[in-house]
Amino acid sequence: MTQEPAITQEMLGAVGVESEPATHLVEAGAILKFAVAIGDPNPVFNDEKAARKSRYGSLIAPPTFLRSMGPGPMKAQVRSPYSANLDGGSEWEYFEPVRSGDRITVTVKVVGISERQGRLGNMVFTTRETRYVNQSGNVAATQLSTSISYQP
């Protein structure tokens, strides 16, 4: 039985379309909560006094903290016919530390869609690039992430 391709023209139309931006304040409390949640006692993520004495001069966010900051509304959605999703992976690139008190503006765009058969049946892979820009207008980090859509 051949599998109907799941990727539609509408889905492909979402490639390259950037979302609206959303700006978030990096809060000390949120950093602390995140560090505790992941179980990382590093003083630069947990102890404001120690962090101020460090080369960063302030509390900084752990490397994946930016996951807690989402983009603005999508201008074009990838609507998969499948109801379940899994996270396939992320590639982060870091340019500047993310400090308590920073304001990070987040945008995302779909950069690729593909499908193939796998252990969960037919799977649609959507790759998105997220950009995190700080209040100085500098890119603090980028994230390339892949989500997998499948029918359970």
Partner: protein, 144 residues
């Protein structure tokens, strides 16, 4: 956290100190709250099973965070993380230990920095590498 590591000390093939994690369902709830990812496959057993999963599973991003913890511990305060990647190949469930491991694959000078590349991964109790990844860092020199 141990002492600062310097570039001169690093060799290809060198193993990073192993970081042991013991995720619990409570940790998954804490992580959901801290990250804003409330997808029910991470804390609602019925929902997870209805989605074809064996149990509630760890957020991929939490596993990514575990790898981040491994590498930021290793590079110390004066090291800089440049790139971090992780692929969520195998599922991990709470209630069993996970080992974050790494090995140095390359060292080189580039654009005035001392760069080190590592293969990093999470391994479960059976020794299966559920989450392969890589990290690129720059390290300080002993010369200051």
């Amino acid at each position: 956290m141990s002492q600062q590591i310097y570039y001169e000390y690093v060799r290809e093939g060198m193993e990073l100190p192993v970081l042991v994690k013991n995720p619990t369902t409570q940790q998954l709830v804490r992580y959901a709250g801290a990250s804003g990812d409330y997808y029910q496959i991470h804390y609602d057993q019925e929902f997870a099973r209805a989605n074809g999963l064996p149990n509630v599973i760890l957020h991929g991003a939490l596993k990514n965070a575990f790898l981040g913890h491994l590498i930021t511990d290793w590079i110390g305060e004066r090291g800089t993380l440049k790139k971090l990647s992780a692929q969520y190949r195998g599922m991990d469930v709470p209630g069993t230990p996970i080992y974050a491991k790494g090995v140095v694959t390359k060292t080189y000078d580039e654009a005035g920095e001392h760069v080190v590349e590592c293969d990093i991964w999470l391994e479960n109790q059976k020794g299966e590498k559920t989450t392969p990844g890589t990290a690129v860092v720059s390290l300080p020199s002993r010369e200051g």
